[in-house]
Symmetry: C2
Amino acid sequence: MSSGITFDPYASFYSSSSHHLRSSEIRDLMSAGGRGDVISFAGGLPFTESLPAGEVSDAMLQVLKESHAEALQYCETEGRMPLKRALIKVMASEGITAEENHILITTGSQQALDLLARIFIDPSDSIVVEGPTYVGALSAFRAAMPNFTTIPLDHMGMDVDILSRELKNGLKPKFAYVVPNFHNPAGVTMSAPRRKRLIELAEEYDFLIIEDNPYGLLRFDGEPLLPIVALEKTRVVYLGTLSKIVSPGIRIGWVNAPLPIIDRLAILKQSADLCSSSLNQMFAERLISRDLWKKNINNLKPIYKSRKDAMIRSLEKHFPSECRWTNPEGGLFIWVTLPEYLDTTKMLPLAIESGVAFVPGVAFFADGSGANMMRLNFSFPTEPQISEGIMRLGKVVEREISLYHSLGLNNSH
Amino acid sequence: MSSGITFDPYASFYSSSSHHLRSSEIRDLMSAGGRGDVISFAGGLPFTESLPAGEVSDAMLQVLKESHAEALQYCETEGRMPLKRALIKVMASEGITAEENHILITTGSQQALDLLARIFIDPSDSIVVEGPTYVGALSAFRAAMPNFTTIPLDHMGMDVDILSRELKNGLKPKFAYVVPNFHNPAGVTMSAPRRKRLIELAEEYDFLIIEDNPYGLLRFDGEPLLPIVALEKTRVVYLGTLSKIVSPGIRIGWVNAPLPIIDRLAILKQSADLCSSSLNQMFAERLISRDLWKKNINNLKPIYKSRKDAMIRSLEKHFPSECRWTNPEGGLFIWVTLPEYLDTTKMLPLAIESGVAFVPGVAFFADGSGANMMRLNFSFPTEPQISEGIMRLGKVVEREISLYHSLGLNNSH
């Protein structure tokens, strides 16, 4: 949107930090992806049609019948106690023990990232992120102007040996931000030994770990691993959300962290939005106590697995042999690496012209790398859309590769 | 809460700006006011029981029946178009003309204040606020560390002559933040000539006006005045909210502003919480299109008027003659000024002990004044609670006055 504005008469009023704001590629893409003829692998949308309409309505009706005046009123900034108790059950299903007063309800876990950036980061502070990492975390952190250190991922998650070397060389981060399960965008899962090693490093070099776990319960293959916060509490700020297991439309996330951090976040949250929606909190609590989240997870897992499988099959069929991709055991995303000479940002308009959208890799790197990579979402498109879309995308990639080779021959003249 | 923590092992991790955070008096009080035996005039709660449970449930059921998958999904960061169209109708009822793309839906108007602080304020930038002003605006602005200039209010709102003098003397504010209708906390309304004069000053000295109008439609006496934004669009950032006319529990506010400002706010909002609840947006849109907001306003006005009258009568009956108070024509609050030698912050624990709560005046001033003032809310307590509570409070005030005089006599020995 902003890109369309050539002269901004309000430019002199803006804060210097706001000049760092930029419309994200995802954001611009979402509108491109919104075109009816484009099959979009660009979004990060869960498949909300899996939620049973009748049961959802029942739960909501119960809230409004029993306590509409309370549901429509303000509530405590920290969040409603019954919802916190319900979330303790959700966390317990992943092996986490938690207490009510260590929990702050947030307006989606995106708000948690924004609040954490603001309470922890001074301009030029060091923080550690994965390469690639969640684009929403990057933009929340960027607003606080830190120095990013990007630690690469492999198929076992963040490469803790590289992190260890950086720390030995003097890196002093405030925190390391990780998405250990079915990484967004990379699809990989951090191994158990690496989780332990990360904790050891945090202790040795005195930094915090922000563990962002939106997808942990969406494992459709393999065995679950214990979250980092289940192994170590005092150094871990854990982020949960109902967006992927229940609904993003209710904007309910939470932080589970040591008390002093929760206190500080709560004070900032009060000035950020006073409190998260009481109505949505009561609704969420009801959905959880009726075990609708479990039913929904059980509905989603086979759908996501078969969509992921369909996408892998289509990639194998339609993508040139020089390309690689991850094969996630859960979550919403596959990460594709094209030959190094290709640039997915430049490729995107061509792809959209061919009726398919993705997010270019650079969006997910703090250090500007990732030019030959892309994120594909498999949770929202249907299987026919997946095979059609990957076929279209494969053709674009093939064309780009042959174009490169033909140019390469021309150049070698 | 924080006050209970003597040592914080995480202190070294916090950003310097986060050290400016402090638990607001309101916040601490809300928990005190939550005690069953305390009659609280401290909150700012609308009377949500006025909303007809059946019609509310019907509207929600309709949303979930027609489009539950959409309501439970993410939506555009800027907010849903049908809600924007509905809000244009709400604004039109106050004489404002607006267009969809000039509107950004926010998670309550508190989020708008937070986003505005971040896009406009650099540390040490000058901004103008009223004295007193809305405490939530103060905390949102404070996080960006501006230099506040406090312009006093009288019964006709912000004293624009004083502002004019400050501007002549070289003050160069980024913006002036005003609550023109039934001011929170002061209860006063800015006169039409002052609204015009403020616009002239903004043009002459090149600053913006943030017009915060949560209560404008809750006028129970006198004739409505045109909002500032209805007189001048290019310099005014207008904040609206459904919190006081429909429900704060759905967290729906909005900004109406020039396009470049909306664009910038939207980019920041994306990293703050991605989008506001789709469910609540669709619900709100339905409530507005069914005219439930009009019905609710019509329900609320006589209730608020008669509670306000009851509070004024009780103040006249139970408060010493040295005290003064405002007599608002709408809104939720009465502002009380005690003799200058009294300190309402010190008085508060005594009041709570006597079973009544209020917000001390200092909370509402950027410049530390207001020690002898207090804010009383009349929208939430019932009339019997109001007369009992004001009687209790009157006794506390009386006791403090006699204590002062007796100490004064002692001191003069």
